[in-house]
């Protein structure tokens, strides 16, 4: 009977291991599968097409050019390599102000025909209309070639405008730099503080202080991130704004401060545990050789605990990069490539959290967000691999 129970427990443990492994794999496959569809989508919003007069020599336009044209920043075809002719923008809704409902026929059957007329009579026109109503093969109309979203549009693009019409821009560089900047500064703040507190707790503080302080610090990890975010927005942002004499308080630096506070409990707790595992014999040996307390900490305890400290730092970094809610609330979320840490930035997790809810399911925006998730996954994976290499290398040296 006892053997049977042992076997059963062993089996259950194995099963739970396998299930966890498969789940992780499935999530990754799902992430990449949903995201990869992006590069099969065309640059113009799904279901829509762009039409020009057939006498127009332009065959295709890049998403940036389209954005500038529809924003009114490019006003002449000359600027995109065409003839010297003013650009006339035509959106689908305008058809209803040109023709009455009666003229457009029952169930709007005559829309394609009327659209054709409009395009044919305006040589400088560019019309952005649903594919369904595009008059194909009719005289005087040319459809612009729709290109697929390229790898470089996504990975090297400098503008993130996912709901721009007619062509959304999915350049992830601002988001990527935003994420890296916020996390990097957060880590710069959190590592010295965290490791310092860990050393204090493990080596210097007396038992009573330690017993009081450690649970208090670990309690910090239990505070929901929204609460941190709200604290950051209401308390930290105005302080940063006033002390730096800045235009606004929602900056990358504010986000880093909050992230540093949030990463501290993880770093302190794990690093302190690592420091305390140094065998008493080693400490005693060091002291017996005439080293004082500080020399012992510096030369014996920290090197011994270095892999544990590295693990603490990596977990802290992981927390910082993946943190969503707090950052979403305090960094201002402006999607521009940051030039200093006192500018507003938009991070990858914040973008996903803020936009996925409203993105039409299965559309290009949705896919772009999933791909962002995949990018984030690759970043954290790289960090853990690097950390693994660093800590194992140190072990070999010893």
């Amino acid at each position: 009977m006892k053997k049977f129970i042992d076997k059963l427990i062993e089996g259950l443990l194995k099963l739970s291991g396998t299930v966890t492994g498969i789940t992780v794999l499935l999530i990754i496959v799902f992430l990449f599968k949903e995201g990869s569809g992006l590069f099969q989508s065309s640059t113009v919003e799904k279901g829509y097409t762009l039409l020009v007069n057939s006498e127009n020599p332009i065959d295709k336009l890049s998403p940036e050019e389209l954005k500038h044209i529809f924003d009114g920043k490019i006003e002449n075809w000359k600027q995109v390599g065409g003839r010297d002719e003013a650009i006339r923008i035509f959106r689908f809704d305008e058809i209803f102000s040109i023709y009455t409902d009666d003229e457009l026929g029952e169930d709007y059957d005559l829309i394609p025909e009327k659209l054709g007329e409009v395009i044919h009579t305006n040589p400088g026109i560019i019309a952005y209309i649903p594919q369904k109503y595009a008059a194909k093969n009719s005289r005087g109309i040319k459809e612009l070639i729709q290109e697929k979203i390229g790898l470089s549009d996504y990975f090297l693009g400098e503008e993130w405008l996912p709901t721009a019409t007619p062509a959304p821009l999915f350049g992830i560089l601002p988001l990527l730099f935003g994420t890296l900047l916020v996390s990097f500064i957060a880590i710069l703040i959190a590592i010295p503080l965290g490791v310092g507190v860990a050393i204090y707790l493990a080596e210097i503080a007396n038992e009573r202080i330690r017993k009081l302080l450690k649970p208090a610090i670990e309690l910090l990890a239990g505070i929901p991130s929204v609460v941190y975010g709200f604290f950051g927005l209401v308390v930290l942002a105005p302080i940063v704004q006033k002390t730096g004499n800045l235009d606004l308080g929602e900056t990358a630096f504010t986000g880093s401060l909050i992230l540093a506070i949030m990463a501290l409990p993880t770093i302190i707790s794990i690093a302190e545990d690592a420091l305390r595992t140094t065998p008493k014999a080693m400490r005693d040996a060091s002291l017996a050789l005439g080293a004082n307390k500080w020399q012992t900490i510096y030369k014996v305890v920290i090197p011994f605990a270095s892999s544990g400290i590295a693990a603490a730092v990596v977990l802290g970094v992981g927390r910082a990069i993946g943190e969503t809610m707090a950052v979403l609330m305090v960094t201002g979320n402006a999607a521009v490539i940051p030039h200093s840490m006192f500018e507003s930035v938009r991070t990858i997790p914040a973008t996903i959290a803020a936009e996925l809810g409203e993105a039409p399911s299965g559309g290009t925006h949705y896919q772009a967000l999933f791909l962002l998730g995949a990018v984030l996954f690759i970043i954290t994976l790289t960090i853990s691999i690097v950390a693994e290499i660093i800590s194992s290398r140190k072990m070999i040296k010893e």
Binding site: E45, K46, G47, Y48, K67, F70, D71, G72, R91, P130, K132, E159, L161, P162, T163, A164, T165, P174, L233, V234, A237, P238, Q241, D247, L248, G249, E250, L328, M329, G332, N333, A334, A335, V336, S344, R346, A353, A354, E355, G357, E358, A359, P360, S361, G362, G363, H365
Partner: protein, 276 residues
Amino acid sequence: MKKLILALSIISIAFGCNTANKKETVTIKGSDTVLPLTQKEMEAYQKKHSEAAISVTGGGSGVGIAALLSGTTDIAQSSRKIKFDEKLKLEESGKEVHEVLIAYDALSIVVHPDNQVSRLTREQLEDIFTGKITNWKEVGGEDLKIIPYARETSSGTYEFFKESVLKDKNYMNGILSMPATGGIIQSISQTKGAIGYVGFAYVNNKVKDIHVSYDNGKTYIEPTVENVKNESYPIVRPLFYYYTNLHETGKSFIDFILSSEGQKVVSKVGYITLNK
């Protein structure tokens, strides 16, 4: 063993309740703007029909319509008109979409209370949010950088503002965006050069609302209940329910919202009733 039996019985009771309730539950999902309205309407409705089970969740207009497509909600609440390709997708899967206009919501343009500027034209607003005007002194204020705040790129409010005020032009590159209306109010109240837009019902004394002109500065209209009702305030958007097929409870709930009693709830929540 006793605990096990207890746990099992609790589970079975829970499941039992579930199946019993499932029969007539109406699920409503979607826009966070419409959410508080739907909740209050539901409370009022259930006072009269205590047997009706309605469950309401937010998540965003896009989420609601996506759920309609996958059949996981009965009604999608939306603060924007259904998009063309969403409609197309629903039609492709053989579902006919019905649209019900339930109320209107006005958007107020708000600034920091210390800001001297108290009126702007639509053209000025367009230039501010597209990045052409960058200093308050260009619109009659003090020498201070303008910091425009927008809602998140895919919220219904963002899209509506873009359509109505920016005339479909894109927002300036790198505009600050906040995930929620509360965040915008908070940020504007502590940033001197800030400007943003929020739902009419959210304006409080921490921010100042701007009088808006849609006729090139001839008349400036303040966003007040009267001005919205007599249609002189221009930045007003419709709020919708979308459904494909609906059973009796759902239909009677929608009828209730459209009734004079339901419309009373609309104005109590701070939105604008249909018969303006």
